[in-house]
Amino acid sequence: MIEAKNISKFFGETQILEDISIRFEKGKNNLIIGQSGAGKTVLLKCLVGLLEVDAGHVDFDGRNFSSMGFKDRRAIRKELGMLFQGGALFDYYNVEENVMFPLNMFTHQHIEEKQQRVNEVLKRVNLENANKLFPGELSGGMTKRVAIARAIANNPKYLFCDEPNSGLDPKTANLIDDLIVEITEEYNMTTIVNTHDINSVLIMGDNISFINRGKLSWQGNKDTILIDDNDELNAFVFATELTKRLKK
């Protein structure tokens, strides 16, 4: 379980996050939603320590991550995987080397064991024959799947996903969402997904936190999101023509 406790973040004089407290449950897909510029990515970066919080703290299973030094954080970071918006695969490594990278850095496994694990996770994301391809040769969906494979290769306890299906067609986006749901259950991970895609919300939203103008505006799940009377939430959820028509 990950807990954000009273987090605030400023960029210069501008307050980006204001007193945000959220509990992200283990074994569930915890979604952070909100429109562009609401502060979702900043919150995610604060959670993983890419940005330092100005007030409050982040706890990973009771361990205060925000007050830790580099070495202590390193121990926690070995337990987390992250799927970046663009995949962030290493350009100079092929698919196999990218997925093997965390194993090379953090385990003392024999090459054959590592190879076996790489093949396992690549099979898990339905990319069995792509081992020798380089990131430049992959489609958007394949890149995301390789990034997922890399994120789960070292059996992480926590998985962070930043806009996992941005730039993908609806069918591929659904596949990625389904995959995240399945591996969260399979690995019993605490998964945090940052998205503004309503379709993803309805597929994955076990716990949903709606961020509006840097504040936590609403919390619920995929069953309650469509029937709540929070005006700001409704303006976000029913913003597209399709959702407007469905609501009618």
């Binding site: 993983v48 320590g49 890419l50 580099f70 954080r73 390193r74 121990a75 926690i76 970071r77 070995k78 987390l80 992250m82 970046f84 918006q85 663009g86 962030a88 695969l89 290493f90 350009d91 100079y92 990278f101 965390p102 090379n104 850095m105 953090f106 962070f160």
Partner: protein
């Protein structure tokens, strides 16, 4: 104020760069790749520049020494001295600042804007050490080798002038090259080259590492790398010459 802030950031980055690698095996793998990228890939351009520089130096010295009382061997001697002391270490390092420096800045800058550096950081890896340290070690070892190679090729350039013109005979050139040789001059050049290699890689690494924005900023980082490292090479050239040769 901005300059002080940048120097501070540079020093902090260098502290992160010069630390024990997370995995020595991975470090040596990356070192091997960098030795190839920085060194082996640069032999061609170093050979070309050195050959023509040596030839031009020999012609210019011959042009300026027209007194019949001065022996022709002086052309070979002066060519060697100029190549060993100045042309090979400084000129080749300036060329490498353009070729290697801009390449490092764009590589690291692109990794920064595409989230690859963030990915390393989230995995608990020290990205500065992982990315820049192997390049630094590779450059400090391979650049002196490139410069020694450049010295040989430069002298061959002068020898070719002696062979294909009537300015002097090849024997006179070779006698001049062998005249009054002090091995310290080569040592001095290697010290300069190692310092220049540190300047090239650390400035490039820093400029790439602090990129924010998009491809235009990556381009600007490459340009800044070439400008700043060239200026620093020229300044340190004076400083080291003053320290080591006087």
């Amino acid at each position: 104020m901005n300059l002080i802030k940048h120097i501070g950031s540079y020093l902090l980055l260098m502290r992160a760069v010069i630390s024990r690698p997370d995995r020595w095996r991975i470090f040596f793998q990356r070192l091997k790749t960098e030795l190839y990228t920085i060194g082996v890939d640069s032999f061609g351009i170093v050979a070309l520049v050195s050959l023509f520089s040596g030839a031009v130096v020999a012609i210019q010295v011959a042009y300026n020494i027209d007194n019949p009382l001065l022996p022709k061997t002086l052309i070979g001697f002066s060519t060697r001295q100029m190549i060993v002391l100045e042309f090979a270490p400084t000129m080749v390092s300036l060329i490498l600042a353009g070729k290697v420096g801009s390449s490092i800045a764009s590589e690291i800058g692109t990794m920064r804007i595409s989230g690859q550096i963030d990915a390393l950081e989230i995995m608990g890896i020290n990205p500065a050490n992982f990315l820049i340290f192997p390049k630094l070690v590779a450059a400090v070892f391979i650049n002196p080798a490139l410069i020694i190679f450049g010295m040989y090729i430069g002298i061959i350039g002068g020898y070719l002038i002696a062979s294909f013109t009537n300015l002097l005979t090849p024997d006179e050139f070779i006698s001049g090259v062998q005249l009054d040789f002090e091995s310290f001059t080569v040592f001095y050049s290697l010290i300069k080259t190692a310092v220049f290699a540190i300047i090239i890689v650390t400035i490039a690494g820093f400029q790439g590492y602090i990129v924010s924005g998009g491809s235009i900023q990556v381009g600007k980082a490459s340009t800044k790398t070439v400008v700043y490292s060239s200026v620093l090479i020229i300044l340190f050239n004076l400083l080291l010459t003053q320290l080591l040769l006087t």
